[in-house]
């Protein structure tokens, strides 16, 4: 029995692209050739890793995995909430200034390009509505109340997800990295529950068949080899996480100090119709894992998680933010190859 393995999504941009973005606007049309080269090269290298399912490396997501859909919206300001990372840097979100809220762009455009370059299944990552809910300022927006915003937010998210599914995404992954942050923000767990509710509100508008092709990713938020909520105990997150009305969950694990404990928590709360892809690669660790290490981590997980509910993934994307140069593309692809090979090794051992 083959254990499924999937990437999270982002990969370091090409050096040329990074430099070009640094010099100007990520939406500069002159960058188009660089974007095309970056996407093409990413897919080529992805195919070379033997991955059964790939992404476009989110090469075109500007500025990052969180704000790509609203980047440049005229009714936004740059001075939204800041997300501090353990390394000390801060990533600031935009702030909605006026309604109605609409996406500037949907991720299906990235999917179209990637589908034209490969025959392999493509996963498209989208940002969760719960993450974008932080666009609305706490003081409110005149003439555009929060309820209306939530409604628009859910609607836009559903539109994006459905569009990606209809255009042929094998998987749509909802990035829910703010889940652990929500616990950090509200240790009572109420915020997390509200986030889960918000996401379920959106999922409720999709069909069961659509939901079968939707997965949710959560991690402590990796950026520049640092996280924003790794200190939050998985035990506070995971029970609520599996209340989401999806079947696939992508959970970082390789970077956890006590993976077994986390696996046991997962095991307790994982519903029978759900599958968890545990992280067996730590993107923020510059060391390239070996296939054997990956194999062992898979075997470790398989001792706790039923094998038909088990998959593997990377703990996080390798470059959620477009300017993240902490990991080279080569390192990222090498880690991905190790994940693929290690998972295969474990599959052979487990499959007999």
């Amino acid at each position: 029995m083959d254990i499924p393995t999937e990437p999270i999504g982002s990969l370091p941009r090409t050096p040329k692209l990074i430099e070009a973005v640094k010099r100007g606007d990520g939406f500069d049309p002159s960058l188009e050739p660089l974007y095309q080269d970056a996407v093409r090269d990413t897919i080529r290298q992805f195919e070379a890793t033997g991955s059964p399912l790939i992404t476009d490396g989110e090469q075109r997501k500007f500025h990052n995995f969180w704000t790509y859909s609203v980047q440049g919206l005229p009714n936004t300001a740059a001075n939204g909430f800041a997300i501090p990372f353990a390394a000390g840097h801060v990533r600031r979100m935009p702030r909605l200034t006026a309604g109605p809220f609409r996406y500037a762009r949907y991720a299906d455009r990235y999917l179209e390009e990637a589908l034209s370059l490969t025959r392999l299944p493509i996963k498209q990552a989208v940002i969760s509505p719960s993450a974008l809910s932080l666009l609305y300022p706490p003081e409110g927006i005149a003439g555009y109340d929060r309820n209306a915003f939530i409604e628009d937010l859910v609607s836009e998210h559903v539109t994006e997800v459905r569009s990606c599914l209809r255009k042929g995404a094998a998987k749509v992954q909802v990035d829910f990295t703010e889940a652990r942050l929500a616990v950090k923000i509200d240790p009572s767990g109420e915020l997390l529950s509200r986030f889960v509710d918000l996401n379920n509100l959106a999922l409720a508008r999709l069909t069961a068949g659509e939901r079968l092709r939707i997965g949710v990713h959560t991690c402590p938020g990796g950026d520049r080899d640092s996280t924003h909520s790794a200190d939050v105990d998985y035990a506070a997150l995971l029970p609520s996480l599996f209340h989401l009305h999806v079947t696939d969950f992508y959970v970082s694990l390789a970077g956890e100090a006590d993976r077994v404990r986390v696996l046991e928590i997962i095991r307790r709360h994982l519903k029978r119709n759900q599958r968890v892809f545990v992280g067996v690669i730590a993107p923020i660790d510059p060391r390239i894992e070996t296939a054997e290490e990956v194999r062992d981590r898979v075997l470790e997980a398989a001792r706790i998680i039923p094998i038909d509910q088990l998959g593997t993934t990377d703990d996080c994307g390798f470059a959620p933010f477009c300017d993240d140069e902490s990991t080279t593309r080569e390192t990222a692809f090498a880690k991905i190859r190790a994940r693929v090979e290690g998972t295969a090794l474990a599959s052979r051992l487990l499959g007999g």
Binding site: N79, F81, A82, P84, S133, L134, Y136, P137, P138, R146, N147, F149, I150, E151, V154, A182, I185, D186, E190, L191, S193, R194, F195, D197, L198, N200, L201, A204, T207, A208, G209, L212
Partner: protein, 972 residues
Amino acid sequence: MGSDETEAERLRAAALANAESILIARRRAEAELLAAKDALERQTLELEEQREWFAVTLSSIGDAVITTDIQAKVTYLNPVAEAMTGWSLAEARGHALEDVFRIINELTGEPAANPVRVALAEGRTVELANHTALVRRDGTTIAIEDSAAPIRRIDGEISGAVMVFHDVTLRRRAEEARREASGRLQLALAAGSLGDWRWEASSDLVTFGDGGAEIFGLPPNSQMTWTEMKARLLPEDGEQAGAAVERALAEHSDYSIEYRVRRPSGERCWVAARGRGIYSESGAVLGMLGLVQDITARRQIEEVRSHLAAVVEGSDDAILTKTLDGIIATWNRGAERLFGYSAAEVTGKPVTILIPHDRVHEEETILQRLRRGERVDHYETVRVRKDGTRFDVSLTVSPIRNLDGVIVGASKIARDISLQKRADAALREETRILELLNSTGLAIASKLDTPSLVQTVTDAATQLSGAKFGAFFYNVTDAQGESLFLYALSGAPREAFEKFGLPRNTAIFDPTFRGAGVVRSADITQDPRYGKNSPHRGMPDGHFPVRSYLAVPVMSRSGAVIGGLFFGHPEVNVFTERAQRLVEGVAAQAAVAMDNARLFEALHDTDRRKDEFLATLAHELRNPLAPIRQAAIISRAPNATEAQKRWSHDVINRQVHNMALLLDDLLDISRVSSGTLELRTENTQLATIVEAAVETARPLIDAKRHALVIELPDEPVLFSTDPLRLSQVLSNLLTNAAKYTDPEGRIRLHASSDDRFVTIAVADSGIGIPGDALERVFQMFSQVKSAQDRSEGGLGIGLALTKGIVALHGGTIEARSAGPGRGSEFIVRLPRRALRAAPVPAPTTSDRTKAARRRVLIADDNRDAAETLAILLRMEGHDVTVAHDGQEALAVYQTIHPDFVLLDIGMPELNGYEVAQRMRQSATHFRPVLIAVTGWGQDSDKARALAAGFDHHFTKPVEPDAVAALLRAGVD
């Protein structure tokens, strides 16, 4: 923004504020959900009702039904599916379909594609798959047919799949059974050449099954009305068939008839038909079922059998059958006629009653061969009739087999071949005789020596006549006029007859030796001519017994009896008329062959003597040439004396004269043989002739110092004769006497005469003549051997010529001698004829008185001959010109205008005849004397010369005196 803490507070406040909105939205959603839930519950109830309805329906249907969710996990099994899979619904629910519904390809055993997966993946109904088997939970398999279809929600999205399948085992068995039954039925129909048809009364349509259509020559599944079907029968049969069908329908019975069908191809066939009506409960006719069978072959066989039976009964040959034990089973009329037994008398009896005792073993031999399955063809043997007579018969015996191929008996055809046998024997005899006649004829024709010829004839004739022994007696008449010389014997050794001596000219044998005809007796001992002669008065003791007797004379073409063929056989009545004719034929051939043999011998002897003559002639001609050559040499020698020259001239003249005499004799004998020698008879004194003859022979007589005594009648004897020829005769006899008598012998010529004959006898004391040569001495080229041994020479034609001349005179000549060394005497007897009127003057001697000078042209390609004659004529004082060929002669002739022309006949380019003709044609104002000079001296040659224009003809060697005399005589 403020500090991080403030930042965090603001984030938290915003997030929580959002959470409120989210909660509101969630409550709204929950309310909606509740309402939806209520509606759903209602729908669910309805669905439950429907589900229950479906479940009951699905439970009650015969097919198995399994439903799955979108992930192909089992959601429902109906009871049939439970039973077929071996899974209960509770056990199966939630399991992957493949766990519960595991299918394989029946043929290969490989896993088969699950139709549900296809339906889910492709969203379409998957039709029934063939050759699929369900592997039950307990591992057993069931052949199924399945199909799957996606289950869609209202929105069209696929929510799962439903699969329907059923056990096809029973159905397949039923189909197999049906196919088997159908196949058996078709096989049965085909095996029996059967076909079927069905008539529906309501539509009046007849539908043919495959077999029925084939029998009628129609395409499969043909349909037609009853009337159209009936029209395919022959008209007379169609009426009968229609009546039978109507009767069957009326009586509710089956019909069974036979009729003929005409197929579309025109071919006809016989059909046996059975039919049965189909009736309603009320008895109405609904239709009819029919079975038809092509019985054409059976009908043909019946016809053939009928013919065969007629043939058997009508045959002249005996045709019978018997068991393998040899018991007669059937007996035709031919057998009755041939053997004389009726069928009742022989049926059940052993066939050996027909076989002679000495051939009974043949029956077992024949039976053994039959048991081996062999056929006995044209076995010639002998059988016996009821009356005991035996006859030749040819048997053909064939085994009779039953349907299993086992030999159960034999059929025998016996044909009387007595006549054929006799005819064969006669033919063989004829062939033998023809071959014998042919070989005899060839042998006879090829033999030229009489002894082997006679033996061949005797052997052949003995075989042809059928005699026990035969003999060919060559008829030689002895002094007593009766004697037979036993020449050849056949069928018995010579020793068996030698002791009996030669058959005599008895009453039995005389007709044969006289050539009076054939004597054929069935029993010679009963012939009245038999036993009349002593000493035996019949056959001598020890002689082969002869009862049948046949004697055939052998006569030459001239009618002379050459001999006789005699045949005997100890049995009576052996020699048939045909045998007699055959022997007569052989005798005729033998006579011709013997004549031919004699002629061949005579010819061979003549040829031999001719060769001897030619050799002698050459020798005799060469003899004079030697001295002539030598004399010529002497004459030319510068130192030769006149005497020598004169001697030489004498020698030459003498030898030339001798050669001329030799050639004259040859010419004369030729004339005698051809009958062209003419006598110039005149009244002549005998003494004159004798004197001339003596004078001719005198040189030889004197040379050998013989004493010659001439005895003539006292009175002169004058008689008509050719004095020259008679002188030649007498000189020849005197010359022979001198030649063939040793020196100092005695020769006597004695002449006498009377009124009728003049007899002249010449006797000598010479070498004599053997008795068996007395007749031959007058033959051409004949010389007694003793004479040949002598050095006297001669051609041996003198006496032949003498005899010829004497015969021309009408006289005879006889030779007598007491034997070798005892002298000889030749007696010439001439008849005295009337005297002639005037004697023919003798040729005159030459007169060498000087004549007038003549211009003479001599033409001869022999230069010596021409020159010598020219010299002689010049010596006579003539002007002589010589030419050496005809053209030159003509040229000279035109120049010198000769008085005399002497032309050789045999010249190149233009011969003498042609030259003479041209000379005669050209000369108008003068006419020379043309003289032919040639070696051809026949009278015909002379006539031809005169016809060519010559005035005279001289035979070479020309006597110069004769030519000179002619020149002196002049041109007149």
